[in-house]
Symmetry: C2
Subunit: 144 residues, 2 copies
Amino acid sequence: MRPRIHVITLGVDDLERSLSFYRRLGLRSAGVVASEFEGDDEMAAGAIALFELERGLILSVFPRNELAKDAKVPVPSPGTCQFSIGHAVHSREEVDSLLDAAERAGATITVRAYDRPFGVYSGYFQDPDGHLWEILYNAAFEDV
Amino acid sequence: MRPRIHVITLGVDDLERSLSFYRRLGLRSAGVVASEFEGDDEMAAGAIALFELERGLILSVFPRNELAKDAKVPVPSPGTCQFSIGHAVHSREEVDSLLDAAERAGATITVRAYDRPFGVYSGYFQDPDGHLWEILYNAAFEDV
């Protein structure tokens, strides 16, 4: 497998709620698309919202039950901590202010930022579906 | 927030198992690092394995319970379908052969690839912790 990821799809309960949340955080999207594909018992419906990130990566939000149908796995209950998404900034102050901005946008802060012994200053928020974002500053992380 | 993701961290049960799995899939890693940070009841241990992907993205595998400690959230049970990672290839044949390769590497195929009405040919596998990868071909997805 080529060492490349093209899309990160978050399973969500409410497409419009997630679209609003990530727009408030500053991400840009054309809105919900592919609603014309209605799906059925076997086939997932198409409706999805895409956010084009830097470097060709796409973040998408897609209904949790449709993702389960698409992947042929049981529908899970909402949860967290199966994974986290890391977003790096240039200073400790930027970590703090971005966590504040996320909270104002409707996120839940699970832990304010603090210094880890391995040189990372970071804190976490959860989006409306519990997905974890770590906002981090690491002096060694030059390419941000 | 700048539209950029720097790291995707998968919560796993067994670092060495995950390291072996992703290496068998062809990803490269320096192995488990930061083991010298042992952590305690409050502070997560440091041990982690990193895979450097294209375009500056890092995929990391980190013990599920340490991720929970780091983010100050309850330790979840293993699960899936909270999200998926999308990996695009250049043909239907490549989708099929990569799913086969993943199965040989120890993945579970949840659904063999098929054509969706919106023009995506894809199938899914789960890694040893249940994390979903969608291997996809989409003629409209030019930049892969």
